[in-house]
């Protein structure tokens, strides 16, 4: 088998340790890289071979958990989703995500993101509370209804959209693209009846009207979610509700699940009856 050629790439990593100093500095590491190697692989290499004190978050290594968001060559990326080769530079600069407080090195505090996410009530809210608590039937939803918000469910809460957003950079109270996109996702869900509660927040001084459609959030999102689109559609929903142009939205009806389901398969017979039988046999 042909050996993969190795290329040395210099990694400049912004280091910060509040226990030692309030100032940040760049540390330089030379990493032998091969084709297909990601920035996260390089960081793991540094941690295992060059400097074990380097702090960064990682978990799934396949762009699902949203842990390894960081500023790579001045652009927010997921480190596991960025191959070193595609950067086409001999030096790779890695910094923590901007617009979020830094805890240590490349680890940022994501609690502002989660707090704002919680504020928009990211769950189904129904008027028929007893049905929610003790469901008697299913909430029917057509594939078209699902399609209307499906892409916004792919958000992994990595914070990359917030770090790319120019409004979040200047206004720390701004709800941000992540929370507003989730606000739209739940308000559009045909099973949901909580738009009145969420619209109060979206219509506030720190809400949707501060977005000036730079589109940086959608450009940066590693999951292909388009928060800028969600924000524009949410603006349209808010104006339509305020001017009563769309009228009252109908909630999805309850559908009784089919009574005659397929018969259950009988429980399989044990190949060995029990311990006693087995011992006797």
């Amino acid at each position: 088998m042909k050996e993969l050629s190795s290329k040395n790439i210099t990694f400049k990593i912004r280091r910060y340790n509040p226990e030692k100093s309030n100032k940040t500095h760049f540390a330089t590491f030379v990493v032998p890289t091969t084709r297909g190697m990601t920035v996260l692989d390089a960081l793991l290499y540094i941690k295992e071979n060059l400097d074990s004190t380097l702090a960064f978050r990682t978990s799934c290594r396949m762009a699902i958990c949203g842990s390894c968001g960081m500023l790579i060559n001045k652009y927010p990326h997921l480190a596991c989703h960025t191959q070193i080769e595609e950067l086409k530079t001999k030096t790779v600069t890695v910094e923590p995500l901007p617009n979020l407080p830094v805890i240590k090195d490349l680890v940022v505090d994501l609690s502002p993101l989660f707090e704002k996410h919680k504020l928009v009530k990211p769950y189904i809210i129904r008027a028929d509370r007893p049905e929610m608590d003790n469901p008697t039937a299913e909430f029917a939803q057509s594939p078209e209804e699902l399609e209307s918000f499906l892409q916004f469910t792919y958000c992994v809460k990595c914070g990359i959209c917030i770090s790319a957003c120019p409004t979040s950079a200047t206004d720390k109270q701004f709800l941000g693209p992540q929370a507003l996109a989730q606000c739209y996702r739940y308000c559009t869900d045909s099973r949901d009846d909580g738009e009145r509660e969420r619209f109060l927040l979206a219509d506030s001084e720190n809400g949707i009207w501060h977005c000036h459609l730079a589109g940086a959030c959608s450009d940066a999102c590693p999951k292909g979610v388009d928060p800028a689109l969600a924000i524009q559609l949410l603006k349209r929903q808010l104006v339509a509700r305020a001017t009563n142009l769309l009228g009252k939205r109908e909630l999805t009806p309850l559908v009784t699940p089919p009574v005659h389901s397929k018969p259950k398969l009988p429980f399989p017979q044990f190949t060995v009856n029990d311990k006693t039988d087995a011992r006797e046999g």
């Binding site: 200047t170 206004d171 219509d203 501060h210 808010l238 104006v239």
Partner: protein, 120 residues
């Protein structure tokens, strides 16, 4: 839903600015094309023509409306930018009142001449 109305008004005034400013620009700068179409703009940039237009109720209304639309559109945008820079609720309220006062003053100042010309 107060902010929804304010934002909608900015969208509407944006369109109205494009229409009213478009009329103004065409009349002021494309008089050769207008005369080829049989419309006499009567040297639109001259002093006498400007005074004549200000005495005309349709033109005066158009200019006053243009001023109102531009002021709302621009000052609402400025308020949004300033709100990004200040987080304090009190300062934000002061910004709103300051911008409102400036808008009213600018509107009064801008409409003073056409109103006087219309009355006299």
């Amino acid at each position: 839903m107060k902010n929804a109305y304010l934002w909608l008004a900015q969208l509407v005034t944006g369109i109205l600015v494009a229409v009213t400013l478009g009329i103004h620009m065409v009349w002021m700068h494309l008089d050769n094309i207008l005369s080829a179409l049989g419309i006499d703009a009567n040297e639109p940039t001259s002093w006498s023509s400007m005074i004549q237009r200000s005495r005309d109720i349709v033109w005066a209304t158009l200019y006053i409306a243009l001023l109102a639309f531009v002021l709302y559109h621009a000052l609402y945008g400025l308020r949004n930018i300033l709100f990004e820079l200040v987080q304090s609720r009190g300062i934000r309220r002061a910004v709103t009142w300051g911008i409102l006062a400036f808008g009213i003053l600018a509107f009064a100042w801008g409409t003073y001449v056409p109103v006087i010309l219309l009355i006299k």
